[in-house]
Symmetry: C2
Subunit: 402 residues, 2 copies
């Protein structure tokens, strides 16, 4: 019975894929279209932000030293010089003993070095303002370049752009950004037993789960999924569809039956493609052992297990990082019950999380390989490293959130 | 000087918005297009999954009791009856003393109640299989309905569909799902001092940050952002654009200057719309005090602060939940340094997180109101409740991740 013949550890599989996958292409997009894209280069500010000294309060622009010693019982008296308008350069200067009304965001007039909040002032007729509390120089004011200095790196290349990052880049006048192209990812389901989801499985048949979970996972990782449907265990058809998928995409995911016969067939076909080079055939991991990868010139085919849970886990561990997706969120928790694991294999244990009085508690979501519900119920997974023989109840663990 | 006249606590603001916002509309979409959509109804399985007893291993289908007592030194002998094919109903029955080859995912033949992994067997000629290890009844087999029982609720209404959920629904043959419509959200920036991002701000001017961060935030929350540009402080123009935005969308976000004069203008215009009802005007929160909301018939206008940080925080706290977005992830951490807060106000303190030996440590990201960099540097925020007067260094806190 043929078995896996180039079994690697998960880190090695990840490194092989990374080094075999071509560098991402770069494109420019409008800032407003850049959510969830990955910056290709550092973004450097061409300006000081703010470019003028700005008040952070509604109140009066003053010389700070004119307010020293003022209090409610002994207010300072300043001469009112007029009003600073939003969005306009002040036509007033503030000299010793003077002040000017300034709105939040307004530009500090020449001479002033602080602002007093309106709550701590009182207007006395047309010409006088009472100051009930002192301010220090720079108080309630943002100085030129205090937010961002000219030449400062504001976002690093490789950063996944979040809504607030778009705001940051907008403030710098960055109209277009260089981002990595969304990588096209071909998705093929194969196996005689796989049915389209609208059909009712007969004995021995299952619906095509992986096309749907992989499509979603590719989208979420920032890729462009392209589905090639369900291909039966027919060498000719599979070779043809693989060729087409590899023509259209630099990464192709082939999820298929996990039976030995099937694996042999798909490996044979993959290796018969011109320029094919086997990267690995089997991973010392659970779930996910029957995972393989073949490099075809500058393109990659990853053969994922047919089991939905294993298929999804291996996508997350091996393929998602290739698409530039941000690292998943990890949280610390405590293991609810003991879990055995075999040394010499990386285990990825699906867990559900509960926030209990002593902190987050992770409970294993058990189920026989292939059980769908694990996918719906688990909040994340715990990695049990290669060398480790299990986790004790109450042991602290790191949970990677799905 | 006019001030806020209907100041509410944040919970009250949230409740007022929720009760004023119309129920979401429902539409049906193809499963393959449902990533990130919110289920409108519970999804119930119409079938047992699996619908047939399925092997989870490559090996031999057996009657478990025939394997009892077998070991490497004393293997059991079974008569080989043939091969179960993937995706087909077995044409073999397994009687006492017999076995059949079964691939992973294959249907257990009549008579068999377990499967022995190929690793623990040895083929002896054409007719005999040696069994080196016993299996219990049901071992390496998934029973009918063991994964999902007919009639079981698999996904609840209100659930945000993740990639793995699409897989789960695919397995049940759910071709289309009822989801809430993506809510259209109008976004208006207003203020004389706000410039399009491609322009260079003069004194007292700032670029339009909020259109970009709000567009991204609405997209991320599952809404359909629609931008109405930058409107100067002109009552006629603002009324016209607000009317158009409210015609097109059930939720309109108006972000604008935070000066008293501006706030008065926009409130006056909002209240002059036919059917307008003031929900609140001012929130006892920091940042975000100058936030207001007006209900206009069955639609809502939320007036957000002009400060980018306050604007974004208030969107997250008040508007995001209206769009059906999933609850943000919360993690426990320990506060790095003491932070003062005023009782009688909900504070939302932006923090950066560091994983140190004792666990996650949250450090406040300080900066004067309006500073952009806070948005780029913070990993999340800590809520300091209304009654609380601050956080001590070393105190445990909950951080809501951005």
């Amino acid at each position: 019975m043929p078995e896996f013949f180039k079994v690697v550890r998960i880190e090695e599989a990840q490194a092989l894929l990374r080094s075999s996958f071509p560098s991402p292409r770069i494109e420019e997009v409008e800032l407003g279209e850049a959510l969830g894209r990955v910056l290709a280069t550092d973004v450097v500010s061409r300006e000081n932000i703010p470019s003028f000294p700005r008040s952070t309060v509604d109140g009066y622009a003053v010389r700070a030293q004119d307010t020293f010693g003022s209090s409610e019982s002994m207010p300072g008296f300043l001469t009112y010089k007029g009003e600073i308008l939003m969005g306009a350069e002040p036509d007033i200067a503030v000299e010793t003993g003077e002040c000017a009304w300034i709105p939040t965001g307004g530009m500090l007039p020449p001479g002033a070095d602080a602002a007093v909040m309106v709550e701590y002032t009182e207007r006395l007729g047309d010409d006088t303002v009472l100051i009930n509390r002192p301010v220090g120089p720079g108080e309630n004011v943002v100085r030129v370049g205090e937010d961002v200095r000219q030449g400062e790196v504001v976002c690093r290349g490789g950063h996944w752009l979040r809504p607030q990052d778009l705001g940051v880049l907008a403030s710098l006048g960055i109209v277009r950004v260089s981002v990595f192209c969304r990588e096209g990812v071909g998705i093929i389901s194969s196996g005689d037993e796989i049915l389209p989801i609208e059909e009712v499985p007969g004995p021995g048949q299952v619906r095509d789960v992986n096309s749907y979970s992989l499509k979603g996972a590719v989208l979420e990782a920032g890729g462009r999924p392209q589905l090639y449907g369900i291909i039966p265990d027919d060498a000719g058809r599979l070779r043809e569809v693989l060729g087409k998928a590899l023509h259209d995409n630099r990464l192709v995911l082939l999820s298929g039956g996990s039976s030995v016969g099937y694996r042999d067939l798909s490996l044979e076909i993959l290796m018969s493609l011109p320029g094919a080079e086997l990267l690995f055939h089997g991973i010392a991991a659970r779930p996910g052992k029957p995972t393989m990868a073949v490099r075809v010139d500058d393109r990659l085919v990853v053969g994922l297990p047919g089991h939905p849970v294993a298929c999804y886990m291996m996508f997350l561990l091996l393929c998602r990082p290739l698409l530039g997706a941000p690292d998943p969120v990890k949280v610390r928790a405590v293991m609810k019950s003991a879990v055995a694991s075999q040394a010499g294999r990386d285990d990825y244990l699906r867990v559900s999380l509960r926030d209990e009085s002593e902190g987050l508690v992770a409970a294993p979501v058990y189920g026989k390989s292939g059980l769908i519900k694990i996918m719906a119920r688990a909040d994340g997974y715990v990695h049990i490293p290669y060398e480790k023989q299990g986790i004790k109840a109450g042991e602290p663990v790191v949970v990677t959130l799905f």
